[in-house]
């Protein structure tokens, strides 16, 4: 069955409001949800917080999945070498929000990120060059629209529509996901309502629905390859994490126990010494 994703629920200091938002997301029909921590210049980078405990029924608990996401706000001056950091790897999704044209270019071409977000509630300040967007799509990156500002503020609505329609016109919504950016439970809307909004942004009906279902699922798989694999080909895991059915693969190559190893070493030492003395005598 198709799962609805909302990959941007803002992390708020008020724990009660946060729990309420997540519970409402579950009841509206979202099955995969990501809680976002925003990292701006000057803020401390912390490892991913644990998933928030919610009081849900058993059925809801089985289907509802909470992930963690970090959005790094980029500007021209930021040094991006820390994006391979262990603390950042502890988050399930890595998103980047460029604020200038240069940071947008860097985000599209060089940085190893999953998702590129924008603050669509005001004029972006730079044009989204077709060339950079094409590079990002070729490298398998995803773009995100948030509809939260359109609900919160009627003045922001105009900018949200302007920016999203502008973007969709170029590539018709390929590799784009839509999420709420919800700070309060009142910012959330049901999945089919959001799919209808996506039609207003300029997407076709099929694409509108897939921007909530199959595209975010593909994004999560890409995020997993970034975190867990080396060059998207090799995964390294601990021996204890191998499932029962695969354990035969490592049993053949068990390391020898410590006592047997020591005895072997002393034997090796004696033999060469004897050989040397024999040679001298014969000469």
């Amino acid at each position: 069955m198709v799962k609805f994703h909302d990959l941007n629920i803002a992390r708020v200091k008020d724990a009660v409001a946060q729990k309420h938002t997540l519970r409402i997301a579950c009841r509206l029909g979202y099955e995969v949800v990501a809680v976002t921590t925003v990292l701006k210049n000057g803020n401390e980078l912390t490892a991913a917080p644990p998933p928030i405990e919610l009081q849900l029924t058993k059925e809801e608990q089985q289907n509802f999945q909470q992930l963690s996401r970090i959005t790094v706000v980029l500007s021209d001056k930021t040094n991006n070498s820390y994006l391979g950091n262990d603390k950042i790897k502890s988050y399930d999704i890595l998103a980047v929000q460029p604020t200038t044209e240069k940071s947008f270019q860097v985000a599209c071409s060089e940085l190893n990120v999953d998702l590129i977000t924008f603050d669509f509630s005001t004029w972006l300040g730079f044009h989204l060059k077709h060339q950079y967007v094409q590079t990002a799509l070729r490298l398998g990156k995803y773009f995100e629209f948030t509809y939260g500002p359109a609900i919160r503020d009627t003045t922001c609505r105009r900018y949200v529509f302007q920016n999203t329609t502008d973007f969709v016109q170029r590539k018709e919504g390929q590799n784009t996901i839509i999420s709420s950016g919800a700070e309060w439970p009142t910012d959330l809307r049901a999945p089919y309502d959001v799919a209808n909004l996506a039609i207003l942004f300029g997407m076709k009906e099929g694409q509108a629905k897939s921007s909530l279902t199959s595209t975010p699922r593909a994004l999560l798989l890409k995020a997993a390859t970034r975190r867990l694999t080396v060059k998207s080909s090799i995964t390294i895991g601990h021996v204890t994490s191998i499932p029962e059915k695969d354990k035969w693969k490592i049993e053949g190559s068990k390391p020898p126990s410590t006592d047997a190893g020591k005895r072997q070493n002393t034997d090796d030492h004696d033999e060469p010494k004897k050989k040397k003395s024999k040679k001298l005598k014969s000469n």
């Binding site: 919160r152 009627t154 009142t186 049901a190 089919y192 309502d193 209808n196 909004l197 039609i199």
Partner: protein
């Protein structure tokens, strides 16, 4: 009666029916169907302007207690009406939320939902 039947083929529906509930997040307000219709028109004009305001939305049923209603919308205007209701977020400076639970081109299908077996047939007539 043998062999007598009439086949009606519906290619593109003329109207869509929506089951909508207004959620005021606990705030109390006295609504009647006229006020509800005013609200819908306000939402349409707010998002789509005069073009939105020209779409004729009819309230078929309205329940005062739970603020649930059944609306009839011309199919050409469905996307506009639905998006206007989705984005309407405050009424008299209080937060509100239009919950669209069912949308269908056929009115009888609004009464039963195969996923949720509690039927909502008992709405009062306006």
């Amino acid at each position: 009666m043998e062999g007598e039947f009439e086949r009606i083929v519906l290619k593109s529906p003329q109207y869509h029916y929506m089951m909508v509930q207004l959620d005021l997040f606990g705030a109390k307000a006295n609504f009647d169907s006229d006020l509800f219709k005013n609200l819908i028109m306000k939402a349409l004009k707010g998002l789509h302007g005069d073009v939105g305001g020209s779409i004729s939305v009819d309230i078929i049923r309205f329940e005062k207690k739970s603020l649930k209603s059944i609306l009839r919308v011309p199919s050409i205007g469905l996307v506009k009406v639905w998006s206007a209701l989705t984005l309407y977020s405050s009424h008299n400076d209080k937060p509100c939320h239009f919950k669209v639970s069912k949308v269908s081109p056929h009115l009888p299908s609004l009464s039963v939902n195969s996923r949720d077996f509690t039927s909502e047939l008992l709405l009062e007539k306006v």
